[in-house]
């Protein structure tokens, strides 16, 4: 599983970082980026799914998922 953050959609809600701090980094303005290339380490898929399903801006996405 691989995830990405769409920088044009992210508004700094930081919900992803709060739910899965292992997978995201945020700057002082709240903008989020994925750690590394966004590949989700084994065992963290559930947290990645939570981050996707809780982003109010639909900015956190699974790479290769429908619509990507």
């Amino acid at each position: 599983m691989r995830i990405r953050v769409d920088p044009d959609k992210c508004q700094g809600h930081a919900r992803c970082y709060a739910l899965a701090p292992e997978l995201f980094a945020i700057d002082d303005y709240g903008l989020s980026t994925v750690v590394g290339d966004g590949t989700v380490p084994p065992g963290l898929e559930g947290r990645a799914r939570l981050a996707i399903d809780n982003c109010p801006e639909f900015a956190v996405q699974e790479v290769g998922a429908t619509g990507d």
Partner: protein
């Protein structure tokens, strides 16, 4: 202010200050969502009220048509002064790009995730101290003795102003937001805030500290210091936005836990779900409604919106939309899919959302640690609404 005429048609004549709306807006939104998802009223000027998630978030993102120059749900009455004291308003909340963009960047680092972690120990100590005072009694007013006391002191700490004035600040903020329909009270609140921060800015310029107000006074943009009137607006914004909103969220959450024993016990037994529970309580009891003003005539969702019309950004109703949330009227503490917009959507996302979230979590953790069992003392709960919804009196009995 006289008695308003009762509402007979919510779709065409809604009133956000009507007693029925204050007590239970949820039923009204549910009916509107299926019959007339964008309601209208001529009360306090032509105003629209979207109730669907899709519409609310679309309007929030359409900054070309919907301006933030007027964000007050209850419009100010009387004539605007020829030379306004705050020509920039309260940026960034009452600003559009480009002013919005750079003034927001001045504030955001003060409310970053990292910075907010630093405010957590003082918040926890504050909550614990408040509970020391009430825990020995058989009960308390969870709104006035607890919820109301927390955010104002955290914000005072960040701004570098005296926590001893907490009650005064709370009074000014409720004059401006909660009693906005009373021109006399609103004027008093505005004057209090303006005079206080004008004096504080002079003092801080003479003796700078490491607080937000001092930092704004030190800030230069394009080689020039910020206009004093802009700093004044930003300082007032931080206080107004950080007080009523968060204490309403804490109060509503405690109301829910006082009236839902199974959720209260679950949260005590499963502290691991606290982060999700905080988001779910924010979804179900979103305190804040903002406004936008229509910039140019536009048809939106079949509604002929005219330049100058207001639109109420009904984030609380969006968060109860069954098209987005399964069983929206049920609080599911560990709800896994929760794209709630309690903090708004788009470029005006609440700049203090990390802080509010931390305060709500810590306030609930400390309360439940000391008072795991409690229930409503009576049905004598009062709710404020309009711009910010939350309980203003919340008597509870411990045990």
């Amino acid at each position: 202010m006289g008695e308003a005429a009762p509402v007979t048609a919510w779709a065409s004549d809604f009133d956000v200050l009507a007693p029925q709306y204050l007590a239970d807006p949820f039923t009204i939104w549910d009916e509107l969502r299926t019959s007339c998802p964008i309601a209208h009223t001529e009360r306090r000027g032509s105003t629209w009220l979207p109730t669907r998630y899709e519409d609310v978030t679309a309007i929030a993102h359409d900054v070309d048509h919907f301006s933030s120059l007027q964000v007050a749900v209850i419009p100010f009455q009387g004539q605007a002064p020829a030379e306004p004291v705050l020509p920039y308003g309260l940026p960034p909340i009452s600003a559009d790009p480009p002013l919005h963009t750079w003034t927001r960047r001045l504030l955001l680092p003060w409310f970053s995730h990292r910075r907010v972690e630093g405010y957590e120990p003082m918040t926890r100590a504050l909550c614990s101290g408040l509970l020391d005072r009430v825990a020995g009694a058989g009960g308390a007013d969870a709104a006035t003795d607890y919820a109301q006391q927390i955010p104002v002191r955290v914000i005072a700490h960040i701004l570098g102003v005296s926590p001893d004035l907490a009650d005064t600040f709370t009074g000014w903020v409720s004059d401006v937001l909660e009693f906005a329909d009373d021109p006399e009270r609103r004027r008093r609140g505005v004057q209090g805030l303006l005079q206080y921060f004008t004096t504080e800015m002079a003092a801080r310029r003479a003796t700078p500290g490491d607080d937000l107000l001092s930092e704004l006074l030190r800030t230069e943009v394009d080689g020039a210091p910020l206009d004093d009137r802009l700093v004044l607006g930003q300082a007032i914004l931080v206080l107004i936005a950080g007080v009523d909103t968060t204490w309403s969220a804490i109060g509503s959450s405690l109301w829910h836990l006082a009236t839902h024993a199974e959720d209260r016990r679950r949260l005590v037994e499963e502290p691991g779900i606290m982060d999700l529970a905080v988001e779910e309580l924010l979804r179900a009891y979103s305190p804040v409604t903002m406004a936008r003003v229509v910039r140019t005539d536009v048809e939106f969702g079949g509604c002929p919106m005219r330049a100058g019309d207001k639109v109420l950004m009904n984030f609380p109703a969006a968060n109860r939309d069954p098209a987005i949330f399964e069983r929206p009227d049920t609080v599911v503490l560990d709800r896994a899919q929760n794209r709630h917009v309690a903090f708004g959507s788009g470029i005006h996302r609440c700049a203090g959302s990390n802080l509010a979230r931390m305060e709500l979590r810590v306030a609930l953790e400390e309360w439940l640690r000391r008072i795991p069992e409690f229930h409503l003392d009576s049905s004598d709960v009062t709710w404020a609404g309009g711009q910010v919804r939350g309980p203003r009196r919340l008597p509870v009995v411990f045990g």
